[in-house]
């Protein structure tokens, strides 16, 4: 739900846009005049302004430039919506410092999708510059890697520069789910201490076809894995400084890598399946995290239904753990196939229940 200002001189279209956006759950303010739009933007401070270009008196590019000049509205996201639909028009819109551009006619789905993308992008820009999320479970098989991969793709799609880190000691699944061929891994990076600097980061990262960057796990465990957490901390710190969002798929053991990932995390997603064994493991994990002085306030519990049979209910889980679940992900029969094909649901089936739930909590 966002406050959106729409400026368009076509009053019929204006009312249709209002209806569409309100159906999308937004609070919509409309005006048919550029100058009035500037006043409304200043007074009402919308999160997003949708601006037509061809308006008499003050055209959309002028409105956009003036929005940027006013300190009150300078950070308002601006979407240019115009019938001038040529590449030169897109360039003109971006030159006027609009955030994005859509050509008319536009379908409701297309409009809402673009609005959501822009609002997410704005939220990212407004939020902390860097944010590292560590996902873990001390019990394997609860779908930590699947959640990490799909979460990283969602965040990346929203416009934030994102890196997925697979900290498994060997044969991690996260990068395999993206069908990437890991020629270099974090083990190679740690074996080259001189490269633990910002300039060397790209040498060790893979790039998925979506543009998502990833740091892979080694295939074979190496003897020097039993090192102190400091090199891991330095490596993750470099990534956090470089990317807006870092998603870490931590191993199901409290080794040096996992401890570093927990220590540096801004948020920890503790993943569990809605079953008794997983619940017991989660209780033990919470105790272990407390012993490691990990702040309780940055831990979020995420339940993931990995089997089709019904599991423990959310109230039962919350009662047993004496804390609320931050999210409950549904069982999705498409997930195993997506895993096998190397096409995560967020890409192959973005409308699937699992992908939709990840988008909801991202």
């Amino acid at each position: 739900m966002a406050k959106i200002l729409v400026i368009d001189d076509d009053l019929d279209l204006l009312n249709m846009l209002k209806l569409m956006l309100e159906r999308g759950g937004h609070n919509v303010i409309i005006t048919g005049d550029g100058a009035d739009g500037l006043v409304k933007a200043h007074d009402l401070k919308p999160e997003l302004a949708i601006v037509d270009v061809m308006m008499p008196g003050m055209h959309g590019y002028q409105v956009c430039r003036k929005l940027r000049e006013d300190p009150v509205t300078a950070d308002t996201a601006v979407l240019i919506l115009t019938a001038r639909a040529q590449p030169v028009d897109r360039e003109a819109a971006l030159a006027a410092r609009a955030d994005d551009y859509l050509s008319k006619p536009v379908s409701p789905n297309e409009l809402l999708s673009k609005v959501t993308e822009l609002l997410n992008r704005k939220q990212m820009a407004d939020g902390p510059k860097q944010f590292l999320v560590t996902l873990m479970s001390l019990r394997g098989g609860v779908g930590v890697s699947s959640i990490a991969v799909n979460l990283a793709l969602t965040v990346h799609q929203s416009g934030a520069s994102t890196c997925l880190v697979d900290l498994s000691p060997a044969s991690g699944h996260a990068v395999l789910q993206l069908r990437l061929n890991p020629k270099v891994t974090w083990l190679d990076w740690l074996r080259t201490p001189a490269d633990l600097n910002p300039q060397a980061i790209d040498k060790y990262l893979l790039t998925h076809e979506s543009g998502l960057r990833a740091l892979a796990a080694p295939f074979v465990p190496a003897p020097e894995l039993n090192v102190p957490p400091e090199p891991f901390l330095k490596m993750l710190g470099l990534l956090r400084d470089r990317f807006q969002r870092v998603i870490v798929d931590a191993p199901p053991v409290l080794n040096s890598a996992a401890r570093a990932a927990l220590q540096i995390a801004d948020e920890i997603w503790l993943v569990l399946a809605p079953e008794v064994a997983s619940l017991q493991s989660t209780v033990a994990t919470l105790r272990a995290l407390k012993a490691l002085n990990i702040g309780d306030d940055k831990i979020a519990l995420v339940s993931n239904q990995v089997a089709p049979r019904p599991g423990l209910t959310q109230p039962a889980i919350e009662k047993a753990l004496n804390r609320p679940l931050a999210a409950s992900l549904p069982y999705d029969e498409a997930q195993p196939a997506a895993f096998g094909q190397g096409v995560p649901l967020m890409i192959g089936q973005p409308g699937s229940p699992f992908a939709a739930a990840i988008r909801e909590i991202a």
């Binding site: 279209l13 846009l17 270009v53 061809m54 055209h59 040529q86 028009d89 006619p105 379908s107």
Partner: protein
């Protein structure tokens, strides 16, 4: 609702002269397609509700807008319709449609090179095609107009209506892979 499109009561059209791009939301009155209005010999001008003016050397930049304006038809090199061409040209009757073939076309008008697909009879007669006759403006489908001396600037759309009188060079190529013209319904 996803199939419903908004902004379709008026037709977005870009008119190009030798030196300027005039963008407008052309009001389709009485269901009369744009091409019929352009080819109406009783009027030498076309009236626009609001005109947004850009120069050809900076075609994205709006230099002025006017609420009342008319264009002299003979000085329009071509006009571009990016989408919704059913509001710009009449659908061909089925008999005529099947008797015609789609061919690649290349032509030049002052400042521009235009490429696209044109519907022609089986036996092409370029002299006949270039004759002004009843129709001054000729439809070119899936068309792109590139500024001859500024090849990075191109305008593309489902339809270009080119002024035959402005054409300098006109070439027809091989048969196009698939026709893009609107079919008759009847």
């Amino acid at each position: 609702m996803s199939h419903v499109q908004v902004g379709s009561r008026r037709l977005a059209v870009d008119f190009f002269s030798y030196t300027h791009r005039i963008s407008t939301q052309f009001a389709i009155r009485g269901g009369r397609p744009l091409m019929d209005t352009l080819n109406d010999h009783t009027l030498s001008y076309i009236e626009l509700d609001i005109a947004y003016v850009s120069r050809i050397d900076e075609p994205g930049e709006l230099i002025a807008d006017y609420t009342i304006s008319i264009l002299r038809k003979e000085n329009i090199s071509f006009c571009l319709v990016a989408a919704q061409i059913e509001m710009a040209v009449k659908a061909a009757p089925p008999a005529q449609y099947f008797a015609r073939r789609s061919r690649q076309v290349f032509c030049t008008v002052p400042s521009f090179e235009i490429t696209g697909v044109i519907d022609v009879p089986g036996n092409v007669d370029l002299h006949k095609m270039m004759a002004i006759g009843v129709e001054r403006f000729m439809p070119i489908y899936k068309a792109t107009a590139t500024i001859s001396l500024l090849q990075s600037v191109a305008f593309s759309g489902d339809l270009i209506l080119v002024n035959k009188e402005a054409i300098e060079v006109f070439c027809i190529g091989e048969a196009a892979a698939a026709t893009t013209t609107p079919q008759g319904s009847g």
